[in-house]
């Protein structure tokens, strides 16, 4: 107990190392092992229990019991390390005897059905409870009592509930996907395909939300769609109406929408508002207003409000005091849009109304701009009716002239205008690059010219360094010459090269597509570029075809023959 933390951790890790060792190795190192067991304290109980279970050593089990007699606050570690049925009798007796003096042991005794009154429910006692509980005790609880225990079950401990009670979607929905969970699921299922089927919705739950609609739609229809969507949607409970709707729509596309909507509406993951809006737009693509209305009616109130918030509440939170009627009219116009745009827009407005920080407001505004990307006039009507503070996050402008220009861009593409406005307001080259990466190819030069020279200069950065980053070794000067020869030493070319080396793979892909607009130039550049850049470009058929007629790359001229670049 008084030992330094580093020593405490060292003893536990050493015990764990011996728990995983072979019996022969443990026998050979019996003296060291005895010393470690003697040195163990209550912080080492998990490792000591694993060693005891693996080695069946009496001294190890007795040490566990002794430590629990001294201080039973870490009894949950014992149960987390080894199921109740695998504990030695003296350890079990020690835990049950301590139930009157220890909340942790009381939770375990309650879970085993030998005590009728539960301990105070905390994250720690819930861990002990779920590690020890038997189905008969769980089944005898009221639904409200179960909810209370579940509300204290942390994700890293949820596999213990799976271990004790089985593959209930309420446990799986909150469990962390790791090897502990794989092993735990294997205790219940012996067929590999069934294990994978059980764990798949957890992987979907953990995927970025914008990927969820496409991933689920690419799967065969789930054989058991209600638990699938509950787990993938990170939903604690599934209302009966939603269960019925899912049963009536047994397709992968329907499962994709439900999982996306639940996750977005419950805001359960770390997804930001813009990502949630993008995912919702994709999930509702092709839906009719009537079908969406039927579906929304099956959702729990909290989820429904997140997709279709009360108009008065939105007006109170977001509208300019002099523009409430205009704001309401803009909301009415949203309602008339296809569900893909309408529901994601309403979700963005709900997020904007609830955002406290400027960062969150900007993010929700980006979600709105993304949702209304094909409905620029609706976006402008809403922005015009927002309060000054919210307007400054949706489409900030320093002066009327800039504002007018941004409005013109927003009418065609609200997302580009939103990003451009923030880049200009903050002098932020990274956000300007976001705007450029989102802009259509036809408007790229216009957007570029709208940027101040300072940002234009920063985006490609040091051009020599950029050339060195994209060019094959010793070929940077040749790339520069190729750009000059092709009369394409212009902004889009430099922007494309900059995007090609971006850390974000989506932007790199955008750079490839930008260069693909000029296949002849790109074919000329190909032999001069680094292998990875070249491979990315050659994945585009137009570039591969244009480059096919060119000779293979020549080795660079010897340095002595090269002229120094001025």
């Amino acid at each position: 107990m008084s030992a330094p933390i580093s020593d405490v951790r060292a003893t536990g890790d050493a015990l764990d190392a011996y728990a995983g060792a072979s019996p022969v190795a443990r026998e050979r190192h019996a003296a060291t092992l005895s010393t470690l067991i003697r040195c163990a304290n209550q912080y080492d109980l998990a490792a000591l229990t694993r060693l005891a279970a693996a080695s069946h050593m009496d001294t190890a089990w007795n040490a566990v019991a002794h430590l629990l007699c001294t201080d039973s606050r870490c009894a949950d570690h014992v149960l987390a390390a080894t199921p109740w049925d695998d504990l030695r009798e003296n350890v079990r007796e020690t835990i049950l005897l301590a139930a009157n003096n220890s909340d942790m042991c009381a939770a375990i005794a309650f879970a085993r059905g030998v005590r009728s009154d539960p301990s105070p429910i905390t994250e720690e006692t819930a861990r002990a409870f779920f590690a020890a509980v038997i189905p008969a005790v769980w089944d005898a609880l009221t639904e409200e009592e179960r909810r209370t225990w579940l509300s204290h079950l942390a994700g890293p401990h949820a596999y213990l509930a799976v271990r004790s009670l089985g593959l209930d979607p309420r446990f799986l929905a909150r469990a962390h996907l790791n090897n502990d969970l794989v092993s735990t699921v294997r205790r219940h299922l012996h067929d590999d395909a069934a294990v994978q089927r059980t764990l798949l919705p957890i992987a979907v739950r953990d995927a970025p939300i914008v990927a969820v609609p496409a991933i689920v739609a690419a799967l065969p229809p789930p054989s058991d769609p209600i638990p699938f969507t509950q787990i993938a949607g990170h939903m604690p409970e599934m209302p009966p109406a939603l269960r019925d709707w899912i049963t009536e729509h047994p397709t992968a596309q329907a499962a994709a929408t439900v999982a996306t909507v639940l996750r977005a509406a419950m805001r359960s993951g770390g997804d930001d508002a813009a990502a949630r809006c993008a995912a919702l737009a994709e999930a509702f693509a092709g839906w009719t207003t009537e079908k969406a209305a039927t579906f929304l009616a099956t959702l729990p109130d909290s989820a429904r409000v997140a997709l279709h918030p009360n108009a008065d509440a939105l007006a109170n939170a977001l509208a300019h005091p002099n523009q409430r009627n205009a704001f309401r009219q803009a909301l009415d116009a949203l309602t008339a849009l296809p569900p893909s745009a309408a529901l994601s827009s309403f979700h963005a407005l709900d997020a904007l109304a609830e955002a406290f920080t400027s960062f969150d407001q900007q993010n929700a505004s980006e979600g709105l701009a993304q949702a209304l990307r094909n409905h620029g006039n609706c976006f402008l009507a809403l922005v015009d009716a927002l309060s000054d503070a919210h307007q400054m996050e949706a489409l900030p402008a320093r002066n009327d002239e800039t504002h007018a220009s941004l409005r013109a861009i927003a009418a065609a593409d609200p997302l580009v205008a939103h990003r451009l406005a923030h880049a200009l307001r903050d002098g932020d080259a990274a956000v300007a690059l976001d705007a450029l990466a989102a802009a259509s190819f036809d408007t790229l030069t216009r957007i570029w010219n709208f940027l101040p020279e300072t940002i234009q200069h920063v985006i490609p950065g040091d051009r020599d360094a950029l050339l060195r980053a994209v060019a094959a070794p010793e070929r940077a000067n040749d790339v520069a010459q190729a750009l000059r020869n092709g009369n394409v030493d212009d902004a889009p070319s430099w922007l494309a090269l900059r995007l090609l080396i971006d850390a974000d793979e989506g932007r790199r892909a955008r750079g490839v597509m930008l260069l693909a607009r000029r296949p002849d130039l790109t074919a000329t550049l190909l032999p001069l570029l680094r292998n990875n850049v070249r491979a990315a470009l050659e994945s585009v058929p137009a570039i591969a075809v244009a480059g096919a007629d060119l000779p293979p790359p020549h080795p660079a001229p010897a340095p002595a023959q090269r002229r120094r670049r001025r």
């Binding site: 022969v24 953990d206 970025p208 993008a278 793979e505 989506g506």
Partner: protein, 187 residues
């Protein structure tokens, strides 16, 4: 991440039946997408196995898969690519003993180009004069030694016989200075 992310596109391609690991390699760079590949139905077995490794779920691999020549050859062919970055650390914990000995040069090159951590390369190569110099910190030494010991469970200190005495002393001396890491690689 946007909905047109290459990692997502690669994941979907694999879900629609693509069996060429190079064509879907972007997905292995992302923990979540790799886990989807490990678990989704109708994924080519090799892609699923690589997904389990990149997704840090080696428990999904059966003993037969861990020793599969197809998987071994696939990973060997990836050592000189960036795809291998998420795969090798997990592979180092389950690969057959001495698997990396035949790929020593490629693994050392991967370490030098930040595609593989020192301990994973050393663990895969096995205890020898080529792998020991890769290990510098007590953490790296402990992780590699632990794995070396696990591959000879009844004689977990056998690795010491495979190293020159100077290297052996250097590794043990580094461990002695940090008791926590010394404990990790017992016995």
């Amino acid at each position: 991440m946007s909905s047109d992310s290459p990692a997502l596109a690669a994941t979907l391609r694999a879900m629609y039946g693509e069996a060429d690991m190079h064509a879907v390699s972007s997905a292995f760079g992302d923990l979540c997408f790799a886990q989807v590949l490990a678990l989704a139905p109708a994924i080519a077995p090799l892609i699923g196995a690589l997904g389990a490794l990149a997704g840090e779920l080696p428990g999904l691999l059966s003993p037969g898969e861990r020793t599969s020549p197809v998987l071994s050859a696939a990973i060997a062919s990836l050592i000189r690519t960036n795809t291998v970055q998420r795969i090798l650390p997990t592979w180092a914990t389950v690969a057959p003993a001495g698997w990396g000995a035949a790929h020593t040069a490629a693994l050392i090159d991967a370490v030098q180009h930040d595609r593989c951590s020192c301990w994973a390369a050393a663990a895969l190569i096995g205890p020898c004069d080529a792998s020991a110099p890769l290990l510098r910190t007590a953490r790296e030494i402990a992780r590699a030694i632990r794995r070396w010991g696990q591959t000879t469970p009844d004689d977990p200190t056998a690795w010491m016989d495979d190293l020159r005495s100077t290297e052996q002393k250097r590794l043990l001396s580094a461990l002695k200075s940090e008791p926590y890491f010394a404990a990790v690689c017992l016995p």
